[in-house]
Amino acid sequence: MICGKTHLRGNTVELQGPRGAEIIAAFKKAGVGIVAALPDIWTSQGLLWPLSRDNDIRLLRVCKEDEGISICAGLSFCDQRAVMLMQYTGLLDSINNIRASAVDYKLPVCMVVGLLQKEPDKKPTESKRYGIRIVEPILDAMGVDRILIEGSEDVALLPPAIDKAYATSRPMAALIGREVRK
């Protein structure tokens, strides 16, 4: 089922993505104090730029996504909650480190992953884009918990998913199915 509030524009129905402010508020509700990130045009304007100006969350700009996975893993030993924000291409590029640092070691590595150009009215597995179609099956094969955030109403799923990751010491991924709005 496709979630998300609809917005009428002319005669067409536009499915809207979540707002960045809502995701930042969800991070704070979950006690996230650090976000490691590589820019992704799907989340750039709505989420990453506002995060870069946020006084409560420390933004770490990394050069490659697997660095961020390791940084989050290291921080998890220090009782500090962190998130790696990236595009799905970065997730795919980081699979081996997620396998090792997060899954094998059973560490609470939390990832927020933009599904760039996923069609707003389609499930990720129904996308015409191969790279998007394979994301959920790969996470399932690896045993990584996942949630899908399509619109504002889905953002409420994020804090309990992060809480669960830390409570069970397991990785999780929040997939962002539509472009994040300002």
């Binding site: 104090g33 650090i34 660095e67 390791s70 893993a73 290291g74 220090c78 070691y105």
Partner: protein
């Protein structure tokens, strides 16, 4: 050239309660030189030691973190030099064990082993302190000062392997060693909660 085990003995004598993050073959020589629950072996995939160490350095800003990277490992995560230099954790010391070899995988040469300058990479990335050692006496003499500097500090150790060791990867990647590390961190974390945290920064 220094022997790695000799080099590590000198560092072990000065580590105090520093957390040490050793990579690959060096991990086993380090384990023999300095067995401690504050050794962090859980570096995940090849190349990731310095990034795990950065997470620890940010999470424990008042505690010294020393990473013993490999040359092949660092080549696999070169961007980490830029990330670390940009974030500039004051408590991070980053050594790379440069033997020009993928030692854990059949001793094949690393690409460009006779031309690559890790010190040059680190300087260009913006590390404020960069050193290079190929002489044990110089390493022993300067190590106290190097460890006392405000980081991030980068040091290249030109070396050859020490005594051959049995390499028990199941041990260093297993859950028991992580639990010991977590237990050893508890008093450090408790102490850190009474310290003033690093300010949040925007970039």
């Amino acid at each position: 050239m220094m022997r790695r085990d000799d080099c590590f003995k000198a560092l072990a004598a000065l580590r105090g309660d520093a957390i040490v993050v050793p990579a690959y073959t060096a991990a086993f020589e380090w384990l023999r030189a300095s067995p401690s629950p504050l050794n962090y072996f859980s570096i995940g995939a090849m190349g990731q030691a310095s990034s795990h160490a950065l997470g620890l350095a940010l999470g424990l800003p008042h505690h010294k973190i020393v990473v013993l990277d490999g040359d092949g490992s660092l080549l696999m995560n070169m961007g980490a030099l830029v990330t670390i230099a940009n974030i500039a954790p004051r408590n991070l010391v980053h050594f790379v064990n440069d033997n020009g070899s993928y030692e854990a995988n059949g001793n094949h040469p690393t690409p460009g082993k006779d031309r690559v300058s890790f010190a040059g990479f680190a300087r260009a990335a913006g590390y404020p302190h960069v050193f290079e050692y190929d002489d044990l006496a110089a390493w022993q003499k300067e190590l106290p000062r190097v460890l006392s500097l405000q980081g991030p500090v980068f040091g290249v150790l030109k070396l050859v392997p020490g005594e051959p060791l049995e390499m028990d990867y199941d041990f260093i990647h297993g859950p028991a060693v992580r639990q010991k590390f977590k237990d050893a961190l508890k008093p450090i974390l408790a102490k850190g909660r009474t310290s003033r945290p690093e300010p949040a920064v925007t970039q």
